[in-house]
Symmetry: C2
Subunit: 415 residues, 2 copies
């Protein structure tokens, strides 16, 4: 699907676009123009799920001291040799070692120190006898079992050795990683900055999100949907409201301080296509019209060095274009994997599906009894169809569709 | 695993606990004491991923007017009958209908109104002829193709019909759902309140999270790990810092205004087990000691009517107990599915694994060439092992383990 011919499938309805870029070429362009942003130092509370921008090498060992792994008695293992229920060996208890409150002296022959899990092993001791293997008798204990040197002792650096690499740059941090970072004394680490994403919603027919629709005006659905998508992908959404449908207002909005601009509405080739015109005039719009369905009017360009994605105004097409391009840009800027965050399953088609050769198709499907079928309601303006759908299937541009029973990869909307 | 016998596997190391509850019984108790919290009205910006607390019925139709699905000409379909490239039929263009700016008049015989995608269909018209099927000629157009009534017209209520149920209560909201809610004029909806989760970290050996460890003290790793886990599961974490290891301080911390209390450290049966003692004294602790490995010292109780989970202080055991109980409680309080949010895959064991009958085992594993193997480094104090692991496997209490090659369900830490 790289041949130039495929770029012009000659669909009369797309007359307005001089050529249509293949999905593969559009993704190549996007990937070439998006990569991890610079890093910022962020506190541990704010780094889970984000991407490390530096290699983490520990300056300390964890633990930094030999510690007990059990509640019991710190002693010299050699002295327990031969101990058993019928050979109970006495030791004098000379003190205790508690977590954070070590025993300050040393353990000599014939002695033991009461010790709790996590407490420092006293000098002279080399093992811990669990409390269950001891009979207490006043200031003495009777040892009921033998232990070997090092037994029930956590060695210095058992968890992490000073000087070792704990995490590589590029790692996406998990909750337990945050714990590990904390344990080596780091309260902040360098992570890839969150992409700031300006959402520019235009359209004179639009009322602010959540407004009751009236007359021939509809409430903006793309703005709040895009915000949720951007945040899911780790970005910071900037959307102060609907932008008036004028060249100047749209240009100004697209020039907001941000790392990425997503424009919703006015990406087609109609007379009101101010956003495209402004990107062409003040930047470049190398891709406008992509061989996908829906969302063919999508545009990809640069303005002031930032990527601008022109999304179709129809909400299904807007979601599809976000899924193909917007989300990928957000994830790549944030250092995350480019791939979809959707869970994928392989399921057989319950019904045949037809597709047009020459464009990749994003088909909403729902799960039915062991398989999937397309969601019947079609138009790209019917957003509720994406709520009724369980996920989507992508039919590649070289396919005419598949017969019933064909296993297909389904990308599930729910996590 | 419900028989009472199984509750007392008679492991001498667990002497301190009078009996150990099975995992199944512990989960039953937890489920009986956790359910969705009350609802709150929240703005659309704050509801993605959260759980609807009300049925949503639309008061409006979307769209609320017939609209054009194409750029073209609104006309009477009957008048295009027989039109073709060699039978170009003329119509007079009497105005235009733009999104948000409808044509105020009516379309009569011999007339057409220029119309854009999303604009209201004028009175009198019943179809839209796409611009590509027209030859423009001054104030007239020449129709090059026939259209049928309703063609390229989005009907009133095509997306959503007034009075219909859009979402059921209990639905976890997706980004596109937020768009749908906005489109029907809702700026706020009732969602299950986010659980406020008090993290109570105790231990005299602990330095604040991210502190450089020194002497026999270690930096708290459980606090920041738990915060990240709670937030992943949709909760609001409350953790003002390490709580002094005294009965009074721990009791006061456990009584913070919250929906759930997670205590880390001091859940065993040692002398410093203030948290358990205080829950027993001022509430109930029906479960203390669970037949799982690691994390057997876990406790589940009630204090002032709120669930308290006593997590082991050892970080791996803390993570495991959170995975089994803490996270489940957070998710259930927030109305989410009880199940783990981890992606699961079935993979063969690369090496045999052994397990002890009588307890469920949480085994950290890593992916190797087409299969999984246990992460070698063992102790439940070695948190970095959970960072090296790719996920975990649960070996049920009635199993002695599995030979190499057995397919097992792996829960992957990464999304």
């Amino acid at each position: 699907m790289t041949a130039l011919e495929n770029r012009q499938p000659g669909d009369v309805r797309m007359r307005g676009f001089t050529r249509r870029t293949t999905l593969a070429d559009a993704l190549d362009w996007l990937d070439a123009h998006t990569g991890p942003l610079a890093s910022e130092a962020a506190p541990l509370e704010d780094v889970c799920g984000r991407v490390l921008a530096e290699e983490i090498r520990s300056e300390v060992s964890v633990p930094g001291f030999s510690r007990s792994m059990m509640d019991g008695y710190a002693l010299r293992a050699g002295e327990t040799e031969g101990a058993g229920p019928y050979n109970r060996l006495p030791l004098a208890v000379i003190g205790e070692s508690m977590p954070g409150q070590p025993f300050e002296g040393a353990v000599a022959a014939g002695e033991a120190v009461r010790i709790m899990t996590g407490a420092a092993l006293p000098e002279g001791a080399d093992a811990v006898l669990p409390v269950e293997r001891v009979e207490a008798a006043g200031e003495r204990i009777l040892v009921l079992a033998a232990v070997s040197p090092g037994q029930h002792v956590g060695r210095v650096g058992e968890d992490i050795t000073a000087g070792s690499v704990v995490f590589q740059a590029g790692r996406r941090l998990r909750p337990q990683d945050i714990g590990v970072l904390s344990s080596i004394g780091l309260a902040r680490v360098a992570v890839v900055r969150r992409p700031r994403v300006r959402i520019v919603v235009t359209g004179n027919e639009l009322l602010p999100a959540g407004s009751r629709p009236e007359g021939c005006r509809i409430a903006d659905s793309n703005g709040p949907m895009l915000r949720a998508l951007i945040e899911r992908d780790g970005g910071l959404a900037i959307n102060p409201g609907i932008v008036p449908d004028s060249s100047e207002a749209i240009l100004e909005a697209m020039r907001t301080e941000a790392d990425l601009v997503l424009v919703s509405g006015g990406s087609s080739v109609g007379q009101e296509d101010h956003a495209a015109a402004m990107v062409i005039k003040h930047g470049t719009l190398p891709i406008h019209g992509i061989a996908i369905r829906p969302s063919s009017p999508t545009g990809l360009g640069l303005l002031d060095g930032r990527v601008v994605v022109l999304l179709p105004g129809n909400p299904v097409a807007c979601l599809c274009a976000y899924d193909f391009f917007g989300g990928r840009a957000v994830r790549r800027l944030g250092g995350r994997p480019s791939d979809w965050p959707y869970r994928r399953v392989s399921l057989p088609l319950a019904r045949k599906i037809a597709s047009t050769v020459g464009r990749d198709e994003y088909l909403r499907v729902r799960l039915v009894d062991g398989g999937v079928e397309p969601v019947a309601i079609g138009g790209s303006s019917v957003l509720s169809s994406t709520s009724r759908a369980d996920g989507f299937v992508v039919i590649p541009c070289d396919s005419e569709g598949y017969p019933a029973g064909t296993p297909v990869t389904v990308y599930l909307y729910d996590p």
